[in-house]
Symmetry: C2
């Protein structure tokens, strides 16, 4: 696929609805399930994505456009959401994520990111030189990776319960 | 988690909405992407799940309740949907899946599947003796596995596009 900004927006605009469809109204045994300490529950994923809307993707995109490679991105804190959104119910988290994502995509669409903009470069604090196109692609894949994580964490609650079907269900394989 | 029928329905009833949120209105490069010959595109997954509603999960559940282990389940054709739904647009597939899933869950809720029903046993043609509870759990995990497949297939379209971010994005790892 030849990456265009609009093609990435197609996926980015769908993630809040996908997570809402999966998680809104779900009971706590599913929402709070995880794969062990320091891993994300389905509910945690929504908090993490909110924090990314606030501090990661769009701020980095602005740094690329305003400073190019001169100003490295601020490192992203993957666990900051835990304190920031402690006590929030999942429906409130889902609303907040949907609102911020909609606002961010509104901003991005207003920027009319053409091929020249997509080729602009910035400096990732650990990965070095990256393009704006790579940032958009990584944002899409990051979203999809966390949807994958949500369904994997949920599925694994039934690793024992599926009995003999285990061998057909590769989502239950340990990576 | 102690499996109850209602707990499995929580997930089963959400899958059509999750796939609709991800796929409805999406452009063909995303919808028709796959991981190679004989693998499913995101659109294929919806067809496969429809065929499962029609011929797999509920018919097998009925066999357990009506015949116990005496009558093995009919083997499921994972690719029959290709001919059956050739030419269907994704919105029509999503509508059909949502309708059948709603009908099937209505049927199941009417059966009031208690602990005794969940312990009933049947015969899988390849896996041997299975319980009704295992069938429900496998149905849930099968759903979640195919949602995972959809987002993985989509993400992999950007394996090159993410550039240096590749190392952070484990959804792009080959299994």
């Amino acid at each position: 696929m030849d990456l265009s900004a609009e093609e990435t927006f197609e996926v980015l605009e769908r993630t809040p609805g996908a997570l809402r469809a999966l998680l809104d109204g779900l009971s706590d045994p599913w929402l709070l399930a995880s794969e062990g300490p320091e891993t994300f529950s389905p509910k945690d994923v929504v908090g993490h994505l909110i924090h990314g809307e606030e501090t990661d993707w769009v701020p980095r995109l602005r740094i690329i456009l305003e400073h190019g490679e001169a100003k490295p991105f601020t490192p992203f804190d993957r666990f900051a959401f835990r304190e920031k959104y402690a006590g929030w119910r999942v429906d409130r988290l889902l609303d907040r994520f949907a609102l911020l994502r909609r606002e961010n995509l509104g901003l991005l669409r207003g920027m009319r990111l053409d091929a020249a903009a997509l080729a602009r470069t910035g400096t990732h604090p650990a990965l070095g030189r990256v393009t704006l196109a790579q940032l958009l692609a990584a944002w899409v894949v990051h979203d999809l990776g966390h949807v994958k994580q949500v369904v994997r964490v949920m599925a694994r609650q039934y690793t024992q319960a599926v009995g003999p079907w285990r061998e057909y269900l590769t989502i239950l394989d340990r990576p």
